[in-house]
């Protein structure tokens, strides 16, 4: 390298046209094998009455999709009930998973004793597997034998819930709307830490001097949050919203373990329906069609959320801020 330096006018070596592909190859291989190929094969399956063990896999064209929109078919009610359950869970859980971690992250971003320890504690539930969380809360929330109702009884707090219309015992896992309250509550407790950490990283990326400038201009804490913190977090917010939305829409284990989809089928999510159709009843073509419909829906909502939170011409300002900070850092 050093020998090559003195040679003048040698054009910069850019590598062959395939160089970028060579670097991409390892990932492309994994992506192709485990994402792209199965996806294409799934599309093919969704056009058949597919059970890979049965000798005949009749081609049914768009029949599997048509069945999902035909209210007289077997799968119609199951699928749309599942989609509705998933929808309820998304609408109920995403606001909490967006706001609570943000508040928590702002608190954890301040300096106070044992801050690192508290940060670790907040993140801790996230490392548990869904099986652990599900079985744990099945016993904590059991209406008759669970420790939660026991504690509520001891503290007389159950009267508040009875006043709100909850039966006795409070049916945390056996009646609506308490089942949704439990599922959302458990999911928030479980995944709160992840969003908090992402927010925390985002908050640390908001330039300190913007807060100082706002303070000099006489901005109140609320105004600083509104005009400095939130704009600074916009890209992080878009990421957190999309990831949380997708994770909530893919809810499966909590329902499966804690309520088995009950009471009735009210908490049987779309994913549970797809799994049961494909691997329980071996109707893989129909399950693939459901999966495609679900992913198209999720894709559209993700695009919409990114579009809604895109940076509206503010990129220059932000880059400028970064540059200034870097300059400031260099000077000090």
């Amino acid at each position: 390298m050093s020998a090559a330096l003195p040679t003048p006018r040698r054009p910069l070596r850019r590598g062959a046209w395939w160089t970028p592909w060579a670097f991409l190859a390892p990932f492309a291989l994994v992506f192709g094998t485990f994402v792209a190929l199965p996806a294409v094969r799934g599309l093919w399956m969704s056009l058949h009455d597919w059970d890979y063990l049965m000798p005949s896999k009749p081609f049914v064209g768009l029949g599997n999709y048509a069945d999902l929109f035909d209210s007289t078919s077997v799968v119609f009610q199951r699928f749309w009930d599942g989609m509705a359950a998933t929808g309820i869970f998304v609408v109920a859980s995403v606001p909490f998973l967006l706001t609570l971690p943000l508040l928590l992250a702002m608190a954890l971003n301040r300096r106070f004793p044992a801050r690192t320890f508290v940060r670790a504690v907040v993140f801790l539930p996230y490392v548990l597997g869904v099986a652990v969380v599900g079985v744990l809360f099945r016993f904590v929330l059991d209406p008759n034998l669970g420790v939660l109702n026991h504690l509520l009884g001891l503290t007389r707090l159950d009267r508040v819930l009875h006043a709100l219309g909850a039966g006795d015992p409070v049916p945390w896992l056996t009646a609506q709307p308490w089942t949704w309250v439990s599922l959302v509550g458990v999911t928030v407790w479980w995944t709160l830490g992840f969003n908090t950490i992402i927010y925390l990283a985002g908050l640390q990326d908001v330039p300190r001097e913007l807060y100082d400038a706002a303070q000099v201009d006489g901005a109140s804490p609320a105004q600083r949050f509104r005009h400095v913190t939130l704009p600074g977090l916009r890209p992080v917010l878009a990421f957190v919203l999309t990831m949380t939305f997708l994770a909530s829409a893919n809810m499966f284990g909590q329902s499966d373990l804690m309520t088995s989809g009950g009471p009735g089928t009210s908490t049987r999510t779309a994913l549970m329906v797809i799994l049961d159709t494909g691997l329980g009843q071996y109707r893989m073509g129909s399950a693939a069609a459901m999966g495609y419909l679900l992913s198209i829906g999720l894709g559209l909502v993700s695009i919409a959320s990114f579009w809604a939170l895109r940076e509206r011409g503010g990129g220059g300002r932000r880059r400028g801020a970064r540059a200034r900070r870097r300059a400031a850092g260099g000077a000090s």
Binding site: Y52, L145, G167, G280
Partner: protein, 449 residues
């Protein structure tokens, strides 16, 4: 959809019979000894030697099952003993949850990574046979000198699909009537004489209620509310499907009566409301309930709880006839590319050998599938639990048609809705029957009725 997941049991593999003939374990061991004698007598002529295996080294076999409860270690013990006694064969056992088992088995077999031997429930056997996962076993049945007369008819018939035998019955696991005798005594009931008909059963529940105990917790979940409901439907004279297996019959008056009895128990306070998964049997263990209808696999669970005073009987008759739900485990050999003749021969040897140990297997909390083992004098002399086997002729099994689990799942939804008081029993059953009829029609097209 998911298969029996017995409540966690404390396994006692290789438990030795105590000298006291009255202990529960002593009974089971005794049952074991009886069964062993009977099966060895029945099969002494037909045991093939592993001749095909001695040619080149050790033949490796894999054996999959879903024995995650107290029965798992017992089966592992049997496998270890088989391996010790057979130099040329090495069987490796893998245990997983039944739900995982049913999802993984087909994929594993198609990719050549599956087991050579597996266990199937009676109700999944026809589905697996129809999907081409299994090998016909008629010659093995002949080797074992199995005869229809020695088995409960439905268990025997369920192993046959399209004219060929695919399963060798290992055991029968019926629903039993478990009682917490301390709670019974506390309410002034005679623990030695549990109620066995509707009038006395309801009187006992009233007595318990007067004592502040919800006597029989009605589970809204498949385990074991689903089995309780099926037993009751049969007891009231109804059935799950019509005679052709073409449509659901549970929405008829008998079914409505059965489910209404469960729901009324909740209304009258005989049962707690909002019973969670497994909470029914846990309540019995905690002394919060007196009665529970549960699978025989719960024997080991209850046996492992020190200080618990309990007993078990055949199901009481609430309806007009005696009936109790039962399942059955069956040995199957799998159809898989790459399986050598040596392995097939060794697998047959293994199934044959374990089938003759049905006695030892009973320690795991099962009833031997063979009538001869159950009806021997020694078995009848063993007091309380002979009661569970006493209902052998009244046992009812899930219909054996391919894809039946998909349809029965709808019944469980109706159960859940009704017992949780979301829907009236008649409406819940009718809705479930309408959905099941579509599923059954679909399955007839798929599997070819």
């Amino acid at each position: 959809m998911s298969q029996p997941v017995p409540a966690p049991a404390r396994p006692r593999p290789g438990a030795q019979p105590r000298s006291s003939g009255l202990s529960r374990r002593g009974f089971l061991a005794g049952l074991g000894a009886v069964g062993l004698g009977a099966t060895v007598a029945a099969c002494s002529s037909g045991s093939p030697s592993p001749s095909g295996t001695s040619r080149g080294g050790v033949v490796d076999l894999t054996f999959w099952n879903g024995f995650t409860g107290g029965d798992g270690p017992v089966m592992q013990d049997l496998v270890d003993r088989f391996n010790a006694e057979h130099d040329g064969v090495d069987v490796t056992m893998t245990t997983m949850e039944w739900a995982d088992f049913h999802a993984k088995l087909p994929a594993a077999l198609t990719s050549g990574q599956g087991p050579h031997i597996a266990i199937q429930h009676l109700d999944s056997l026809p589905t697996s046979a129809a999907r081409g996962l299994l090998l016909p076993l008629d010659d093995l049945a002949a080797d074992l000198a199995l005869t229809a007369d020695d088995f409960i008819r439905p268990v025997w018939d369920a192993g046959i699909y399209a004219g060929a035998r695919y399963g060798i019955p290992l055991d029968v696991h019926p629903l039993g009537f478990f009682c917490n005798t301390a709670v019974m005594a506390g309410a002034g009931l005679d623990p030695a004489d549990p109620p066995m008909d509707r009038a006395s059963y309801e009187a006992a529940l009233d007595a318990l209620l007067a004592n502040g105990v919800a006597g029989h917790w009605m589970s809204p979940h498949t385990f074991t509310g689903g089995q309780t409901l099926q037993s009751l439907i049969w007891q009231f004279g109804g059935d799950l499907l019509d005679a052709d297996g073409a449509t659901a019959a549970w929405a008829r008056d008998e079914g409505v009566e059965a489910l209404s009895w469960m729901v009324d128990a909740v209304h009258r306070g005989w049962s707690a409301r909002d019973v969670g998964q497994d909470a029914d049997i846990i309540a019995l263990q905690n002394g919060q309930a007196a009665f529970n209808w549960n699978g025989i696999w719960s024997i080991n669970t209850l046996d492992g709880i020190s200080g618990l005073e309990w007993d078990v009987r055949r199901l009481p008759r609430i309806g007009s006839v005696d009936a109790a739900w039962a399942g059955s485990h069956n040995f199957v050999l799998t159809k898989q590319k790459g399986t050598t003749d040596d392995q097939l021969e060794a697998a047959r040897t293994f199934v044959n050998w374990v089938s003759q140990q049905s006695a030892a297997w009973a320690v795991g909390g099962q009833v031997p599938a063979r009538r001869s083992a159950r009806e021997s004098a020694e078995f009848q002399a063993l007091a309380p639990q002979a009661a569970i086997a006493e209902q052998a002729d009244d046992l009812r099994f899930p219909p054996s048609i391919p894809g039946i689990g998909d349809a029965i799942g709808e019944l469980y939804t109706a159960l859940n809705e009704a017992v949780l008081l979301v829907k009236e029993p008649r409406e819940a059953l009718a809705d479930a029957a309408a959905r099941a009829d579509q599923v059954l029609a679909d399955n007839r097209d798929r599997y070819g009725a």
